[in-house]
């Protein structure tokens, strides 16, 4: 965020840049799955 009020142009670009978002999709899935699956051992 460029300040507390709004997203910058660069942030908006990355939010919709498909290749970067594919990378984020993989990263987020790995992150969420890894931490969520830890719960199974409680």
């Amino acid at each position: 965020m460029q300040n507390e009020q709004e997203f910058s142009k660069a942030e908006k670009f990355w939010m919709n840049f498909k290749l970067y978002q594919l990378w984020r999709f993989i990263v987020l899935n790995v992150k969420v799955y890894t931490i969520a699956v830890q719960s199974k051992f409680h």
Partner: protein, 479 residues
């Protein structure tokens, strides 16, 4: 042979039933009692509410799943619970016939979901009031119809006021309301009608992005970012006005009455409004063996089941006492009775409560839906498996240890959709374990907006329905 009865077939009850059926179903009697014969995937009702998903895509019949999982299904509404040791049974009314059924148990899981307390706010709700809800599938369908009718008015050039948020000073599930408001924004944008709508977020949160969990905090490039700033940016970007620290007290046709932290009273006009009601526990009767009322041993005044938490701590003390949150979710007086999901009584709020000068308590209740419900359902089921097999429980997970991931979609298009992905650990801050003022793991906690979130939301819809159908590999999918 142990008899295990699960009341309710939502995220918590159904998850518990799957694990119980899988682990004990062949040798013991597992029964699910529910007043609905379908499972509803609640997170997608947001899309139903804007007409982007057919209702039938969010539900499936329970009985075929239970037949495969060695679980009996009773289509009945539970009315009375008789928990005394020598005489334990549940009385219910069979749906369709109205016949009374009596079901005995050795272990009971209470997971019927919330009572939507529209009556707690005069004029609230789609049945006897003037606002809409996405908290049940019939409500979401009604909301969709009203929303689409509103769009028709806008197409004719009418300017309208839309209000979305919480309909009670103690309501929870701000996340669902947030997802709905951004979906409405995105849908109107696509329809070319956004300029015809003034959209307002009206909520009981202490600040934007609180979501009833004291907000989400993350560390990025060494700087701590808060969900309040993030959600403010989202709303500013979308042209959505916001008003927080507000408790709705009454609704009339086209008018929402509220009070804020300062004790000011005001009226907000609307043409269409979706407000989440207060949640309460289901109004079961708890009856002892001599016919006496044992509710005081079983539930708190709101009807939520008392479990192994420390109740009655004032907020400042509770916020520093992670061990006050329940770990195994069974009742201290009747230890073979468990509660899962929204049904268990939390020891207090997660967000800081506030009482204004008019003595109105404005305090978001702790959210216990979705992932939290599923995890508790599994913990309860695995402990019952332990008790049946070894007589000793080995599983526990407090909300102060639990991870939650939440994806709030903004439109459902895979090409230009968007979503906020929120990950927090733990759900309830643990200021003893995490040495920062937020009590959160700032490395794991995550807040991000982008197209990837929209893909994840879609993926979760299909993978979770796969899981809840108990299909191949369902146990590999986390709650």
């Amino acid at each position: 042979m142990a008899k295990i009865l699960v009341i309710g077939a939502g995220f918590a009850g159904h998850t518990a039933a799957l694990y119980l059926g899988n682990q004990l179903g062949r040798k013991h009697e597992i029964t699910v009692m529910s007043n609905r014969d379908v499972f509803g995937y609640v997170p997608s009702w947001v899309w139903v509410g804007v007409g982007h998903m057919k209702p039938e895509q969010t539900i499936f019949k329970l009985k075929p799943v239970y037949d495969r999982m060695h679980v009996k299904f009773v289509h009945a509404a539970a009315k009375e619970i008789h928990p005394d040791a020598s005489d334990q049974f549940v009385v219910a009314e069979e749906i369709g016939t109205g016949k009374e059924v009596r079901w005995s148990y050795d272990y009971l899981v209470i997971a019927p979901g919330p009572l939507l307390n529209f009556a707690g706010t005069p004029g609230l709700g789609p049945e006897n009031g003037f606002t809409h809800s996405i908290c049940s599938l019939p409500h979401a369908i009604k909301t969709r119809d009203a929303y689409l009718a509103l769009c028709e008015r806008m197409k004719k050039g009418e300017k309208v006021k839309i209000v979305v948020g919480t309909g009670h000073p103690g309501a929870t599930c701000q996340g669902a309301a947030f997802e709905y408001i951004v979906n409405v924004h995105k849908d109107l944008l696509k329809k070319g009608l956004r300029d015809k709508a003034d959209i307002l977020w009206l909520s009981n949160e202490p600040e934007l992005g609180d979501f009833g969990v004291n907000g989400v905090q993350i560390k990025r490039n060494g700087i701590v970012q808060k969900s309040s700033e993030f959600i403010k940016s989202v709303f500013n970007d979308h042209g959505i006005r916001y008003q927080v620290r507000t408790g709705v007290t009454k609704v009339e046709e086209g008018k929402i009455h509220w009070q804020n932290y300062e004790g000011e009273e005001g009226i907000t006009e609307f043409d269409f409004s979706m407000l989440i009601p207060q949640f309460k526990g289901q109004p079961f009767k708890y009856i002892g063996k001599d016919g006496e009322d044992v509710s005081a041993k079983m539930v708190n005044p709101a009807g939520f089941v008392l479990v192994d938490g420390k109740y009655g701590l004032p907020y400042p003390e509770l916020s520093q006492t992670p061990e006050a949150w329940p770990a195994q979710y069974n009742n201290p007086t009747y230890p073979n009775v468990f509660a899962a999901g929204i049904a268990f009584a939390p020891p207090g709020p997660i967000s800081k409560p506030f009482t204004n000068k008019n003595n109105l308590l404005i305090a978001p209740a702790p959210p216990r839906t979705g992932m939290v419900s599923g995890v508790i359902g599994r913990v309860v089921a695995m402990n019952i498996v332990d008790l049946v097999k070894t007589g000793k429980m080995t599983h526990q997970e407090r909300m102060t240890e639990m991870v939650a991931a939440c994806i709030a979609s903004m439109g459902d298009n895979l090409w230009d959709g968007n979503a906020v992905t929120i990950v927090m650990r733990p759900v309830v801050p643990d200021r003893k374990k995490y040495a920062n003022e937020f009590g959160r793991d700032l490395f794991i906690s995550h807040l991000e907006m982008g197209l990837s979130g929209a893909w994840m939301k879609f993926m979760l819809h299909y993978t979770f329905i796969w899981k809840f159908k108990g299909l191949f590999g369902w146990k590999l999918i986390p709650e």
